[in-house]
């Protein structure tokens, strides 16, 4: 095995967070009364609403800003957000679907080998930080991509980044480094 050989790595996207604005104020009480699958958190001033298909959870603020979490792709997030906007429209608000933006993507990826974390940290020190007293994973930041990777000794890597593309690029970038410090036979 060597680092350049084509290894197909499955990157599973587990969460996509997106935001959009409705350009109108929302009466949270009305949403809470007339919507299904809602939780009204009066003390914080927000409503949580869950959609079944796609399976997303939306946080609705009275200012008209809405945050959707739980989608597994950027497209799915957009469908979910639009469905939510339509639901609000049905409730009688003057909703416009604007400023849609994917803000955060979380993905996992499993390397086909185990990783020696101590060696890996030693070789990539300014970027990688490994505090076994705090967390079992090495935290590796790629500033240029604005992504953070959690690298576990089992070979699992969790990536968070601003969009799917940067997450995939981050995995590509990290692969040669983790490959170097994979489990070595004595």
């Amino acid at each position: 095995m060597d680092a350049d050989s084509d290894v197909a790595l499955d990157i599973i996207i587990t969460n996509v967070v997106c935001v959009f604005r409705t350009r109108c104020h929302l009466n949270l009480r009305k949403i809470a009364l007339e919507g299904l699958n809602v939780i009204y958190k009066r003390e914080v001033g927000k409503v949580l609403m869950k959609l079944r298909k796609p399976r997303i959870t939306a946080t609705i603020w009275s200012s008209g800003k809405i945050i959707c979490t739980g989608a597994t792709s950027e497209e799915e997030a957009k469908v979910g957000a639009r469905r939510l906007a339509r639901s609000l429209q049905k409730l009688g608000f003057q909703v416009k679907f604007t400023e849609f933006k994917v803000v955060n993507v979380l993905a996992v990826c499993t390397m086909p080998f185990e990783i020696r974390l101590a060696e890996f940290t030693k070789q990539n020190r300014p970027h990688a930080s490994y505090e076994p007293e705090l967390h079992p994973a090495v935290c590796y930041r790629i500033k240029s991509l604005r992504t953070t990777l959690q690298i576990f000794s089992t070979g699992s890597i969790t990536v968070t980044g601003p969009d799917v593309k940067s997450v995939a690029t981050a995995i590509e970038q990290i692969y040669p480094f983790v490959f170097e410090s994979r489990k070595a036979i004595l």
Partner: protein, 519 residues
């Protein structure tokens, strides 16, 4: 003082000190020019007339110490002294504290956090000098919660752009062993429990190294592992008297906290030792359990490099026993040699009989001799294609060659009609079916268990016994064709909204709830 001075106004050197009211002034006696005011800049009278000069201004430095900064620095130095750190450490720590103090991120934070910043500076200094100390120690010194300390530590490292090397495990083991009361000379415990620090800590270091090599340390909190290793090492030094002492009792006697995961770590460590003990010839005959294996810890540690190599080599061998080379050799030896031998004898009946009997039986035997491991090994190298190619190419070509060289046209015709077709058909049928069956069996086994030899290989415990179920994909692959811009039908939307009737009921229910407390 006044003798050497000259008046800047008239050039006279007759300068006198004069008390004007309570204020001392230096005055030229000739012209009356005031050269300088007294040493005391302000008086009580002046201050009361709101002409106060701040102490900070009077010293001439704009950024002098504030009280809180001074307090922080003193605290840093005190902590360094409490921990008995070498001399240079406190200066480094203080400089980090000053940097952090200046940073706007830590300006308006709670006192608790400011205390933690003090601790962080000391901790970072220790880490940079490879001084073994844990966060827990610092946390208890500054009375901080672990989580808060962790978050501030990470942010300080990032903000001050510091480079913090990881703790040297060996140093940590040594320093942790030092804290065990049992290993100190002056302790009142039964004499068979007391132990010399040097011997036990040396053995603990080796045990921890062994644990490190067998993936028990990576990603784990080091202290529980060290505690478990120290316990095992201590037991092994006098097993007859100490095997009955439990881990919790050991910690209590040593006056050390027992971190909860160390029991699990102990079990893992014992498991590893049992696995290794299989390869020591004089331990092979004994059936060891996790209690008795401790007695042989010394032997295991002495030969640990050999044992690890051996264990890995055995695993390797298991995996690669009967690889493609083997199979090829067997196949070519079996099938082709047989075919050649039989064909050169020249009789049709013989050939047919031998071929169908020998070749097929042989091939099947060879193939079925290949175990699951074989098939797995083959799988990765694409044996199916190879075997197929080999068989068809080798057998056909050879048979043809032999036939055309040695036998009559008749035989050739018959052979090519009967035997060859038969052989190829049988071979391809038998072999392929077999191989496929094995492959599918192998594949199934592979997919159900990615690490078939987990009993032999050393792996992170969470890999060999995974607690989490494998991740299921919430949406089938079909979701890939979502573009995000599809039309959304009204019926879809309605399932998320209440009907008017439901709304009415809901409102009534709400009202009832509201009334209940009143009634």
């Amino acid at each position: 003082m006044s003798g050497a001075k000259q008046c800047p106004d008239c050039g006279s050197s007759d300068i006198v000190e004069d008390a004007h009211y309570s204020q001392d002034q230096v005055v030229c006696a000739d012209c009356g020019c005031i050269l300088s005011e007294g040493l005391i800049t302000t008086t009580a009278a002046e201050e009361s007339h709101l002409q106060a000069v701040r102490f900070a201004d009077s010293t001439g430095e704009n950024d002098s110490m504030t009280v809180s900064k001074l307090r922080g620095i003193v605290r840093v130095r005190n902590i360094c002294r409490v921990l008995r750190l070498p001399d240079g450490f406190s200066d480094t720590a203080v400089s980090y504290y000053e940097q952090a103090y200046k940073h706007p991120l830590y300006h308006s934070v709670s006192i608790e956090k400011k205390e933690i910043i003090v601790g962080c500076c000391v901790y970072i200094t220790c880490r940079q000098h490879q001084w073994p100390i844990t966060m827990a120690t610092i946390c208890s010194l500054v009375y901080a919660k672990k989580e808060l300390f962790a978050s501030i530590f990470l942010s300080i490292v990032q903000v001050l752009k510091l480079d913090v090397p990881s703790v040297s495990l060996q140093n940590l083991v040594m320093s942790h062993c030092r804290s065990f009361k049992l290993f100190k000379d002056s302790c009142e415990v039964p004499s068979h429990y007391a132990e010399k620090l040097d011997t036990v800590s040396e053995r603990t270091v080796q045990t921890v190294e062994l644990a490190y090599e067998t993936w028990l340390v990576t990603g784990r909190h080091p202290i529980p592992i060290i505690t478990a290793a120290a316990y095992i090492s201590w037991q092994s030094l006098l097993p007859a008297r100490r095997l009955s002492c439990s881990l919790s009792r050991f910690c209590k006697l040593s006056d050390v906290d027992l971190p909860p995961p160390s029991a699990i770590r102990l079990r893992e460590l014992q498991g590893t030792l049992i696995k290794l003990s299989v390869y020591l010839p004089w331990l092979k005959v004994l059936s060891l359990n996790k209690k008795t294996v401790v007695q042989h810890l010394g032997d295991l540690l002495r030969h640990r490099v050999f044992l690890l190599r051996k264990a890995l080599a055995v695993t390797e061998a298991e995996l690669s026993r009967g690889t493609l080379a083997d199979t090829e050799a067997q196949l070519s030896r079996g099938t082709l040699a047989d075919t050649e031998a039989q064909l050169s004898r020249g009789t049709l009946a013989d050939t047919e009989a031998q071929l169908s009997r020998g070749t097929l039986a042989d091939t099947e035997a060879q193939l079925s001799r290949g175990t699951l491991a074989d098939t797995e090994a083959q799988l990765s190298r694409g044996t199916l294609a190879d075997t197929e190619a080999q068989l068809s190419r080798g057998t056909l070509a050879d048979t043809e060659a032999q036939l055309s060289r040695g036998t009559l046209a008749d035989t050739e015709a018959q052979l090519s009609r009967g035997t060859l077709a038969d052989t190829v058909a049988q071979l391809s049928r038998g072999t392929l079916a077999d191989t496929e069956a094995q492959l599918s069996r192998g594949t199934k086994a592979l997919s159900s268990n990615d690490q078939p030899n987990s009993t032999f290989v050393f792996l992170p415990p969470c890999v060999s016994n995974p607690r989490k179920r494998s991740r299921s994909i919430p949406f089938p692959r079909g979701h890939l064709d979502i573009t995000g811009d599809e039309d959304i039908s009204d019926s879809e939307i309605e399932q998320y909204l209440r009907t008017p009737a439901e709304m009415k009921e809901f409102e009534q229910a709400l009202n009832r709830d509201d009334e209940l407390p009143n009634a």
